[in-house]
C-alpha cells in the first residue's frame, strides 16, 4: 500500500476535517445554539404550542405510514428482482431508482396533475367516491413514499444477491411453502438490511419538504407538517419557534444516522 509522507497525510487530514467542519458540523451545531439561546424552558413552551404539536404529530403519522408502505413494497420488489426472471425486469430495476434523481418539486407537480380534484386524470373520479388525495393525508403519504421509495430496495437487493438462494432451495426441497421460506429463511438473513432501509427511509420521510409543500396546501392545523411549519414561521418572523422545531427534526435525523452507524459494523462480525 502507498504510504504518504507525514506532511501530506496531515494536509489531507486537515483539508477533509476542515471542509466537513465548515460545511456540516459547525452549521448544524448552530441550530442547538439558536434553539437553546434562552435556556431549555422557552423551547419546551414553544414546542407545547398546539400548532407545533399538530405539525409534529402529522409529520410522524405521515412518515410512519409512508415507511410501512415502502417497507412492504421494497421487500416485495427486491425479492422479485433478485429471485425471479420476468420480462421487463431490467427496465423496472432501472426505473425503481428514478425517484432518487427526480426533484421533490417535480414529484409534487406530477402527483398534482393526476390526483387533483378538478382537472386531474384520476382526481375527480376518486373525489366522487369520497376519497380526497391532494390537500389531504393520502397525497402527503404518496409524496413521501415517492421520494423515499428506493431506499429500502437499495439496501436489500445487494444483500439478497450476495446470500444466494441455496438455503431457500434447501428449505423448499424439505417441504417448506413460500410463506415459511420467507419468514424463516429469507427475512432473517436480510434483517439488518431491512432495518437500515427503514431507518434511512424514516429520516428521509420526516424531512420531506418540496413535494409535500405542493400536495398538502400547507393549511395550519390540517395539512401543515413540521418542515412546512419551519418555513412559515421563519418567514413570519417567529424565528425562535422555527429553530425549536428545527432542533427536533435535526435531532431525529441525526439519531437515525447514529443508530445506523452503530448497527452497521455488527453485521460484519
Amino acid at each position: 500500500m502507498v504510504e504518504l509522507t507525514t506532511p501530506v497525510r496531515w494536509l489531507l487530514r486537515l483539508v477533509a476535517v476542515g471542509y466537513v467542519l465548515l460545511l456540516v458540523a459547525w452549521p448544524v451545531s448552530t441550530v442547538v445554539r439558536e434553539a437553546f439561546a434562552d435556556g431549555v424552558g422557552p423551547v419546551l413552551d414553544l414546542l407545547a404550542d398546539p400548532h407545533v404539536v399538530h405539525a409534529l404529530s402529522l409529520t410522524a403519522q405521515v412518515a410512519v405510514q409512508a415507511v410501512l408502505i415502502n417497507l412492504v413494497f421494497g421487500v416485495t420488489i427486491s425479492i422479485l428482482l433478485v429471485r425471479h426472471e420476468f420480462p421487463g425486469k431490467r427496465v423496472l430495476s432501472a426505473l425503481i431508482d428514478l425517484p432518487m434523481a427526480v426533484s421533490p418539486v417535480v414529484v409534487g407537480l406530477a402527483l398534482l396533475l393526476i390526483y387533483n380534484g378538478r382537472t386531474g386524470w384520476f382526481g375527480p373520479t376518486l373525489e366522487s367516491w369520497g376519497f380526497q388525495v391532494i390537500f389531504s393525508g393520502p397525497g402527503m403519504i404518496m409524496a413521501t413514499c415517492f421520494v423515499a421509495l428506493p431506499l429500502v430496495i437499495r439496501e436489500v437487493v445487494p444483500v439478497l444477491t450476495e446470500i444466494g438462494d441455496e438455503q431457500e432451495q434447501a428449505a423448499r426441497s424439505l417441504g417448506a411453502n413460500t410463506r415459511q421460506t420467507f419468514w424463516r429463511i429469507t427475512l432473517p438473513s436480510i434483517k439488518w438490511a431491512v432495518v437500515y432501509g427503514v431507518v434511512l427511509s424514516l429520516a428521509r420521510s420526516l424531512g420531506e419538504f418540496g413535494a409535500v409543500k405542493i400536495v398538502s396546501g400547507n393549511v395550519v392545523d390540517r395539512t401543515q407538517t413540521a418542515t412546512l411549519l419551519v418555513e412559515t414561521q421563519y418567514q413570519g418572523f417567529q424565528q425562535s419557534s422555527a429553530y425549536a422545531v428545527s432542533f427536533v427534526l435535526a435531532f431525529a435525523s441525526v439519531l437515525c444516522i447514529v443508530v445506523v452507524s452503530i448497527l452497521r459494523p455488527k453485521e460484519k462480525h
Binding site: W26, L98, V106, L109, L112, L113, I114, W121, Q169, E231
Partner: protein
C-alpha cells in the same frame, strides 16, 4: 440449482411448459400476484404521474413549450442551476475523493465521528439544512461571511446536500482495493506519485464518476435547502425547481410541467448513465 435439476433432469422434455419458463426462474402464482400489485402501485405512484408531466407539457404544442422553456427568466434559472451544479460536482469530485481517502487509509482520533457526520446532509431535512447554513453564513454570521441571497449561497446549499455522494461511492471501492497491485508497482520501482496516478486512481474512476453523476442530479433537483438561504430572486438566485414551484403557485400547470420536463429529462439521463457505469464496474469486478 439442486431443486431445479431434481424437477427437470437435463435433457428431459419440457413437459408442456414453454421453454423460457425454467423452474428456478418462473413466477409462481403467488409471486405473480405480488408483482402485479407492486407494479400497479409503482405505476400509480411514479410512472403515471411522471407521464402526466410530459403530456401536460405538450398540451400547448411545440411553440408554447418552446416559449416557456426559453423565456429569459427560465433560461437564467437553467444557467444558474447547471452552472452551480457543475461547480459543486467538481468540488465534490476533489473533496469527496480526499475525504474517502482519509476515512479509509488514515487513522486518527475522531475519524469515526467524521464518518458519521458525512451522512448528516443525507438525513437532515433540507429546510433545516438551509436554516443551519444561514446561521453560519447568513447576516449574523460569526465568521463575518454574509453570503445569504447570493450565488454563493446557492453553491453552499448544493455543496451541503451533495457532500455524501462521492464519499460514499468511493469509500467502499478504496477499502476493497487489493494492496497487491500497489506493492507490485512499488517493487518494480514506481514512486508514490506514479502508483497513485497509474494504479490507485484508475481503479477509483468508475466510482468517482458514479458519485459525480449522483451529486450533479441531486444538485439540479435541489429545492428545500435553497428556500431560506438563496432568497429566490429572479435572474439572480432563482433555480429551476423554484421556477416550477412559482408556475404551480400561479396556477399555470402547463408552464410548470414544461420546465419540470427538462428536469425529468436530466433525471432519466442520469439513471441510464448510472446503470451503464454500474454495469461497467460490475464487469470489472
Amino acid at each position: 440449482m439442486s431443486a431445479a435439476t431434481l424437477e427437470a433432469p437435463p435433457g428431459a422434455p419440457p413437459r408442456g411448459r414453454p421453454r423460457s419458463r425454467r423452474p428456478r426462474t418462473t413466477l409462481t402464482t403467488g409471486s405473480s400476484i405480488g408483482l402485479g400489485i407492486a407494479v400497479t402501485w409503482f405505476s400509480l405512484l411514479v410512472l403515471i404521474p411522471l407521464a402526466a408531466i410530459v403530456v401536460t407539457a405538450g398540451e400547448r404544442g411545440w411553440a408554447g413549450y418552446w416559449d416557456t422553456v426559453t423565456s429569459p427568466q427560465t433560461l437564467a434559472a437553467v444557467r444558474l442551476t447547471v452552472g452551480q451544479a457543475l461547480l459543486v460536482t467538481g468540488v465534490n469530485v476533489v473533496m469527496g475523493t480526499v475525504i474517502a481517502w482519509v476515512l479509509v487509509r488514515d487513522r486518527f482520533w475522531g475519524r469515526a465521528v467524521l464518518d458519521v457526520v458525512i451522512d448528516i446532509p443525507f438525513a437532515l431535512p433540507t429546510i433545516v439544512a438551509g436554516l443551519v447554513l444561514l446561521g453560519l453564513y447568513g447576516p449574523s454570521s460569526p465568521l463575518g461571511l454574509d453570503w445569504a441571497y447570493s450565488e454563493r449561497a446557492v453553491a453552499l446549499a448544493l455543496a451541503f446536500v451533495t457532500l455524501p455522494f462521492v464519499v460514499r461511492t468511493v469509500q467502499p471501492v478504496l477499502g476493497e482495493l487489493e494492496p497487491d497491485a500497489e506493492e507490485a508497482a512499488a517493487s518494480l520501482g514506481a514512486n508514490r506519485r506514479t502508483i497513485l496516478r497509474r494504479v490507485v486512481l484508475p481503479a477509483l474512476v468508475p466510482a468517482i464518476a458514479a458519485g459525480a453523476v449522483l451529486s450533479f442530479a441531486r444538485a439540479i433537483a435541489e429545492y428545500g435547502s435553497l428556500v431560506l438561504l438563496s432568497g429566490n430572486r429572479p435572474f439572480q438566485t432563482e433555480v429551476v425547481s423554484v421556477r416550477v414551484l412559482t408556475h404551480v403557485e400561479n396556477g399555470s400547470t402547463a408552464s410548470a410541467a414544461a420546465v419540470a420536463s427538462l428536469m425529468l429529462g436530466v433525471a432519466l439521463v442520469v439513471i441510464v448513465g448510472l446503470d451503464l457505469v454500474q454495469r461497467r464496474v460490475s464487469r470489472r469486478g
